[in-house]
Amino acid sequence: MDVKDIIKPENKVYGKCPVMTEKVLHYCPGCSHGTIHKLLAEVIDEMNIQDKTIAVSPVGCSVFAYNYIDIDWQQAAHGRACALATGVKRLCPDKYVFTYQGDGDLAAIGTAETIHACNRGENIVVILVNNAIYGMTGGQMSPLTLEGQVTSTTPYGRKIELNGYPLKITNLAAQLDGTCYVTRQSVQNAAAVRRTKKAIRKAFENSAQKKGTSLIEVVSSCNSGWKLSPIGANKWMEDNLFPFYPLGDLKDK
């Protein structure tokens, strides 16, 4: 059968999600942000909640997320996304509210806001994109950087005696009574992407059922920050990040 006979509108099985805008993503080639944006858009489209969703964008590469997903957005000061989302959700309790944050934003400057929003059990969804560095500003060490990992501020590798231990913020959040669903996922291959999409869907449903805070950590790659190719970065992530940040549900109640 010729390719031209296959490419017909009635045979289409997968394409760009209509909730994504026409803007070209500014992210580097192979960046996990694009995939996670797409998954959020697909879940919003499938649940038909485009006009009922308010998201909070962080500081970092994904600050421009409001240009790409066609929903209502607020932009928070660095680290304050969970605090802003709390306000949005309390003022508009019938809306779906989620924050989209990197590890530098959520787990460094925003630790207090995140922990307290989770502890209060706000009915929001928190998406943590963990690439183990500050990607936008040039690959500096973040609290989630691995021991021995070379970054622009730890050129000889992260040393525990100087920089402390990597912070497993997701495990910390799972201990809190306010969280209902805490999971760690990834998006480097098709199976992982499908699992992450299921997790996002579940988190949104929890939010509708007022079960508490759902936190989804997506272990991601930052190939330009790690100075690797897109495919090499995914491999490095599987070899180095996954042993320390094992994937799976940490809490599901």
Binding site: M1, V3, D5, I6, I7, K8, N11, K12, V13, Y14, G15, K16, C17, M20, V24, L25, Y27, C28, P29, G30, C31, S32, H33, G34, T35, K38, V187, Q188, N189, A190, V193, R194, S229, P230, I231, N234
Partner: protein, 73 residues
């Protein structure tokens, strides 16, 4: 029942990251030697007769540039 698939790539939005290429279970996708207006190589069906339309490539594509078509044969 066998499935035949095909992909269409938005050539100007593709960044040539190659994530689709390594996720294709039947090695259909390659990267072009020529580049688009932004200077990136573009993914394309180098081996179109093997495509089953499994949608793995489009699922992992960070820039949503791949549209998948599938028919039963």
């Amino acid at each position: 029942m066998a499935m035949k698939g095909a992909i269409v790539v938005d050539r100007e939005r593709c960044k040539g990251c190659g994530v689709c290429m390594v996720n294709c279970p039947v090695q259909v996708i390659g990267l072009t030697k020529e580049v688009n207006a932004k200077g990136y190589p573009i993914c394309y069906m180098a081996n179109p007769e093997e495509c089953t339309g499994c949608t793995n490539c489009a699922t992992v594509c960070p820039d949503s540039v791949i549209t998948v078509y599938r028919v039963k044969v």
